[in-house]
């Protein structure tokens, strides 16, 4: 018997020590007032700033997107507070890293909801993570604005979930039409997509159906790759051998950029259309001069002509020395719509007189009320399911400098 006891004692010590650490931490970080943020160092919170949670991937192999999302969110925080906050009360971002996995997203959301008592959450980065973490926020009746989840079924997770990232079928087809306009003689088309990426996989379905059903072109070959691939010679060789006039790529910046580079190196001269995953200046650092001429479908264009986008763009350029990406633009929009909806709620009845639960519920119904927001994405609103109603989509063509060091998306009027 003594053997078991010894083990049980050991285990209990280990577990209770862990529980103590957590308990100590949670009491250290849980403030008394319901609507009061964790005063993270460096914040000049006046004590009553309204906490908005940002739960995106700041570590792991999707941090490339996450760090851009954080940049967008921080610019939004400053812009909103510079413009009077929520009718005088500032907002305060609470950042929690979701890493790249589902458990990380769940833990980050739990912490934001229960510890930091945020009024709403912007996140997570990946659709797969959203399917894991959003049901938790929905059950806790905390509004979530998804900045980059484009998979089918995200707003349908529950009444508290909405997104500012337009689903793929809305964005993709325009770029194909622009390519056809540039070269009306296109007959044979090839498609390539990143097979382990949820977004690319749904996007390519849209691309393929537009190519065959709507534009009546011949789809010669479909190539797949992985977002983690670095060597695309097999795909590039196959595409070249298919002798096509147009290659349509759905993937993320690094893999697609490499595919373009290797395709061009091997002598492909035809047109290239990229999906929404290529809508980031990160693409330029991969294929450099060979990016030139790619048509890209955009849900966000840095050229959008409204004062909000101008303010966002200028702040982003000052900070990161490059034009903002779609990830940053959409996350800015996520924070912005929450803040503007809060202003509307506050006008009806003072936030300071409401409980946290009331604020969350009111905020959510205001977001879904059809209220229009002028954002870097143009004028948007949400339908009663939480799906974004976006009026403007864009097609841009990549234009690289002669030395291939810098480039930009040139907005096409179609």
């Amino acid at each position: 018997m003594s053997k078991q006891r010894s083990f049980v004692v050991n285990l209990m010590v280990a577990v209770s020590a862990s529980a103590l650490i957590l308990a100590a931490c949670s009491s250290a970080t849980t403030p008394n007032a319901a609507v009061s943020p964790t005063t993270a160092p460096g914040a000049d919170a006046k004590g009553d700033a309204i906490p908005i949670g940002i739960g995106v991937a700041q570590t792991s192999n999707v941090a490339l997107f996450g760090q851009d999302q954080v940049a967008g969110a921080k610019i939004a925080e400053k812009w909103i507070n510079d413009n009077g906050g929520i009718n005088g009360t500032p907002i305060k971002l609470v950042l929690q890293d979701t890493a790249g996995d589902e458990n990380g997203a769940i833990n980050a959301f739990q912490s934001l909801i229960n510890q930091s008592k945020v009024v709403a959450i912007v996140g997570p980065t990946l659709s797969q993570q959203a399917f894991a973490a959003d049901p938790i926020a929905d059950k806790a009746k905390v509004p979530v604005v998804a900045p980059s989840n484009t998979a089918k079924g995200i707003p349908q997770i529950g009444p508290y979930i909405q997104r500012v990232s337009a689903p793929v079928n809305a964005v993709a087809p325009n770029a194909l039409k622009a390519a056809l306009k540039a070269n009306p003689d296109i007959k044979k088309v090839a498609v390539a997509y990143a097979q382990n990426d949820a977004f690319s996989k749904s996007e390519t379905v849209v691309f393929q159906s537009v190519v065959t059903s709507e534009l009546k072109l011949e789809l010669v070959t479909v190539q797949t790759f992985q977002t983690t691939d670095t060597d695309f010679t097999t795909q590039a060789t196959n595409l070249l051998n298919a002798k096509v006039d147009l290659v349509v790529i759905s993937g993320l910046a690094a893999d697609s950029g490499n595919l373009v580079k290797q395709l061009r190196d091997l002598g492909y001269k035809g047109l290239i259309v990229g999906g929404n995953g290529l809508n980031t200046p990160n693409l330029f650092t991969v294929c450099k001069a060979q990016c030139d001429g790619i048509f890209v479908a955009q849900a966000y264009s840095a050229d959008t002509d409204n004062p909000v986008n101008k303010a966002f763009r200028d702040a982003y350029m000052a900070d990161q020395k490059k034009t903002p990406s779609q990830f940053a633009g959409q996350t800015f929009t996520g924070v912005q719509v929450i803040a503007e909806a809060l202003r509307a709620v506050d006008k009806k009845s003072k936030l300071s007189g409401m409980t946290l639960e009331q604020i969350r519920t009111e905020l959510n119904s205001t977001l879904k009320s059809g209220m229009k927001f002028t954002t870097p994405l143009g004028v948007i609103s949400f339908d009663n399911q939480g799906e974004i109603l976006q009026t403007q989509f864009y097609v841009a063509q990549v234009k690289m400098d002669a030395d291939g060091k810098a480039g930009k998306f040139v907005f096409l009027n179609n």
Partner: protein
């Protein structure tokens, strides 16, 4: 307390699940077989539960998914994983050491690529909207905790009955074990199958805990994580993998919480927030070096009366 449970409910449940995954890897290791196939059976179990609960068991009364259905899914997942394990085991268990580890990783990768490519597993997006049998995450303990205790009891007993002693004999010296009439292949496949059944059941439960299931769950990284549970916790007694699973799942979250403590200097808080995985890695290195037997060693049980060992 309510706050504590709602914040950490999911974490506590995932710690318990991790402890069971550690145990699952420990079972073949009892007979000296380093198999990393558990991640594959875990993925398989998750897919079975996700498919059954979203496509087959779709009619039930009330808001909550019946717990009995979850148990049925776990049984189905356990049987499927066990059956597949017998086939893979008979093929692969002729291999030894690192060769076996890599062959089982190959198995995990093949399953992963398959699940990315076939329709029923939902490709890269996976299967979402897995129904919930409980109102709050912490209530999963009603299933997870008894399951952990039962599997611990099972392994504890196993270490002390003939079959378990035969496994340990094979680990210590296979040829000698064979010469005293132990059938190594039978015992190895048995341990491999038990391990797969446990991993499959845990996967089935995890699909509900995570609300969703996809090809990112059963990967090389996950398999290496399970191995770390066992080696950090201690590979010579069943308590090691349990403690390792609990501790290594808790650690990154505990570091996350440290960053939130009031009054830290800004640079330190920032380091804890964004660089906490650097610390996590460092602690793994230090743990391995300072506890080369793992955190829990058999000696702790045997000499507990004279336990003056400062490392405990």
């Amino acid at each position: 307390m309510a706050d504590f449970l709602s914040t950490y409910g999911s974490l506590i449940v995932s710690m318990i699940l991790a402890a069971m995954l550690g145990l699952s890897l420990y079972l073949p290791l009892m007979s000296g077989q380093l198999s990393l196939a558990g991640a594959g059976f875990y993925a398989l179990g998750g897919y079975i539960a996700a498919i059954l609960s979203t496509k087959v068991f779709t009619t039930y009364s009330g808001d909550l998914y019946p717990v009995s259905y979850v148990l049925i899914e776990m049984i189905v997942a356990g049987i499927a994983a066990g059956a597949l394990a017998v086939i893979v085991g008979i093929l692969a268990l002729r291999l030894r050491g690192v060769y076996l580890a890599l062959a089982t990783i190959a198995f995990v990768e093949i399953l992963r690529v398959l699940s990315l490519n076939i329709d029923i597993t939902g490709g890269a997006i996976g299967i979402f909207g897995v129904p919930q049998p409980f109102g709050t995450p912490i209530e999963y303990l009603w299933i997870a905790l008894p399951m952990l205790l039962l599997s611990m009891l099972f392994v504890y007993r196993l270490e002390r009955v003939r079959t378990g002693r035969a496994l340990i004999a094979i680990r210590e010296d296979e040829l000698a074990a064979e010469s005293i009439g132990i059938n190594p292949t039978y015992h190895k496949v048995l341990a491999f199958m038990l391990s797969a059944i446990l991993a499959g059941c845990v996967g089935a439960l995890s699909a509900h805990v995570l609300n969703t299931w996809n090809a990112r769950q059963g990967t090389f990284d996950a398999a290496i994580g399970h191995l770390a549970f066992v080696l950090v916790g201690g590979s010579r007694t069943f308590a090691g993998p349990v403690v390792g699973g609990l501790a290594l799942t808790l650690l990154p979250e505990a570091l996350r919480q440290l960053a939130g403590i009031n009054g830290l200097p800004p640079w330190l808080a920032q380091f804890l927030r964004e660089g906490r995985l650097i610390l996590y890695g460092l602690l793994i290195v230090l743990g391995a070096i300072n506890f080369p037997q793992g955190l829990i060693t058999p000696a702790m049980f045997k000499h507990h009366r004279a336990a003056k060992d400062p490392t405990t």
